[in-house]
């Protein structure tokens, strides 16, 4: 197998039969190339959608206020539903199996932040500590808001990396005071949110927000996580919320517009099913591509052996053993298919690497091919090329040289 002379003989044959070599190689390279692109695109799509979910906790449920659309107990439709701290307290007390409950209240429209001579406009949002989990933020330095901050209306703020960059550049910021609409707040922490939009924010205690900026007890929305609740359980929780809110706010339970509930558990499950579908699709097409490659290689190997029957006859007359004939055909096929497979692999991965920085879509990021699958597919093609070559090569090596020589 590692006889240099044998390889020289094979290389000489390959060099002299460029078209044949190209055709065999092309069908393998093309198959692997397409497979890589396919696997990569599937993965890119999955990564993109996965990333959409990583921006917020995938097990969160968000409740937004709306407007009634049905008359109820003598009340006209079109009534705005308003949430207050009572909704928070009630939910915290009554709804079982929920975590990280947080109200939310944006300071609007004025949203000026300043530190010394640096200014910036960023979203200012009053929240409970649960928001850290709900928004899926990473705390890089310091801490996020805690219960005491909320209960004692502290003027503290957690800032995002974008805000820090705008106001502090590289200066120390923990413990410094920034002015939010001209009121000083102490910086207690730095966070990062993978969503670009959500990273242009500062969070302050919701209680402080109400006291200083908005007045009253109103909040804009509520959110919480559901632990490891299944989709069915999450739907039960959703239903419970709708029933209770309807009762307390006097709207019909069937009124879908009075409050909006955004159930990420359900959404996530839907996308999980979509992924499964995409993966199945990619596999079916991938297997189809591989089969097409196998058929292509087999076909060419059959023709190659047929074409070489006379040459095989000559070689046998000159003194070639059947083993050496089979070896010649097979090693050539293995050499070509492995090399072509490698080329397809490199081209496919190269193309993915080349285009992935240019694709800035929310639903398509990091198209990467599973290298193990790609390598296995290459090996499969090499082996099937060898098997496809082996059967006719053995037949050709077995026939009598006379018959082979007669083959014109």
């Amino acid at each position: 197998m590692f006889d240099i002379d044998k390889w020289q003989e094979i290389f000489a044959t390959i060099k002299k039969n460029k078209l044949r070599t190209f055709l065999t190689g092309f069908s393998v390279a093309w198959g692997i190339f397409m497979l890589i692109i396919l696997l990569g695109s599937g993965r890119g799509l999955e990564n993109g959608i996965q990333q959409q979910f990583e921006r917020d906790a995938s097990n969160s449920i968000w409740i937004y206020r709306g407007q009634t659309s049905m008359p109820y107990k003598g009340l006209k439709p079109g009534r705005r539903i308003r949430f207050t701290n009572d909704d928070f307290d009630y939910s915290k007390r009554e709804i079982k199996n929920i975590e990280n409950l947080s109200s939310r209240l944006s300071v609007f429209p004025q949203r000026n932040l300043s530190y010394k001579n640096e200014y910036g406009n960023f979203d200012i949002i009053g929240v409970h500590p649960g928001t850290k989990a709900l928004e899926n933020v990473d705390i890089l330095e310091g801490r996020f808001l805690n219960e005491i901050d909320v209960s004692s209306n502290r003027k503290v703020v957690a800032i995002s990396t974008d805000v820090k960059k705008a106001l502090f550049k590289d200066q120390p910021f923990l413990g410094e005071y920034i002015k939010i609409n001209n009121i000083p707040f102490k910086v207690i922490g730095l966070f990062e949110d993978s969503s670009e939009r959500d990273n242009r924010r500062v969070y302050i205690p919701v209680s402080t927000t109400q006291k200083i900026f908005t007045g009253g007890r109103e909040i804009q929305n509520l959110a919480f996580t559901t632990g490891d609740a299944s989709m069915k359980e999450s739907l039960e929780i959703e239903d419970e919320i709708r029933t209770n809110f309807a009762q307390r706010h006097n709207f019909s339970k069937d009124d879908q517009r009075a409050i909006y509930i955004n159930n990420n558990v359900e959404e996530y499950q839907k996308f999980q099913n979509l992924f499964a579908g995409i993966r199945l699709f990619v596999w079916i097409i991938g297997i189809g591509t591989i089969i097409a490659g196998i058929v292509g290689v087999s076909n060419i190997m059959l023709i190659v052996v047929k074409e070489r029957t006379k040459e095989i006859g000559i070689r046998k007359a000159i003194g070639a053993t059947p083993t050496s004939i089979i070896g010649l055909v097979l090693l050539e096929s293995i050499l070509i298919t492995s090399f072509a497979g490698y080329v397809g692999l490199v081209l496919g991965v190269g193309l993915l690497e080349l285009i992935s920085p240019h694709i800035q879509s929310d639903f398509f990021t990091n198209p990467e091919a599973d290298f193990r699958i790609a390598v296995s597919a290459t090996i499969l093609l090499v082996v099937s090329g060898a098997v496809a070559g082996f059967v006719p090569a053995r037949k050709a090596a077995k026939i009598k040289p006379v018959e082979a020589l007669r083959d014109e």
Binding site: D5, Q8, E9, A12, T13, K16, N17, K310, E311, G313, I314, R315, K316, A317, I318, G319, A320, T321, P322, T323, S324, A397, K398, K400, P401, V402, L405
Partner: protein, 226 residues
Amino acid sequence: MIELKGLHKSYITGTNKLHVLKGLDMLIEQGELVSIMGSSGSGKSTLLNVLGILDSYDQGFYKLNNTLMSNLSEKKAAQYRNNMLGFVFQSFNLISFKNAMENVALPLYYQGVSRKKRNSIALEYLEKMGLKDWAEHMPNELSGGQKQRVAIARAMISKPKVILADEPTGALDTKTSLEVMDLFREINKDGITMIIVTHEKDISEKTDRIIHLRDGIIESEFISKN
């Protein structure tokens, strides 16, 4: 060198059984230059294939250099062909994608001779054939006579005991044919046994012994006036 006794060979094509060789006895000594003549269908090519271990036989025995050639494995047959026999065919049978030198060197490849060495030996043989300047040419760039001389060089390179030629002049013009026959006589002088199958009378007359085959049996045999 070659001994045949009661040799039978038939081909089965579908339901038909074609009895080609019907009990041949033949003795050819080392260094003889023999021609086998016969019209088409006389069995002369079949006989040559049996002699060349390119085909098997059904009955009788065939001894080459005092070794019985029967029930040989493919590998063994390949070895005998490689060491003891050289072939020259009517259609030359050169490998089209190898140049003259590589074609001549090929038998040595199967003997495990290194590339460099076998190519230099091949050049020597091509020089003997007067084809040194054509060593790098591909077969399709050579004339019929040149191709046949390349094929003869290839048959000789493994220093065989016997050279078997199947209608070696069949594709050549008269002048070239005579040149090739002169070449064969030259080679024969070095002690290599030559067996030439032909249906051309003037070719056979250049050999020392003529064996006439007809319908699978030896019809007549006589010593040529050479």
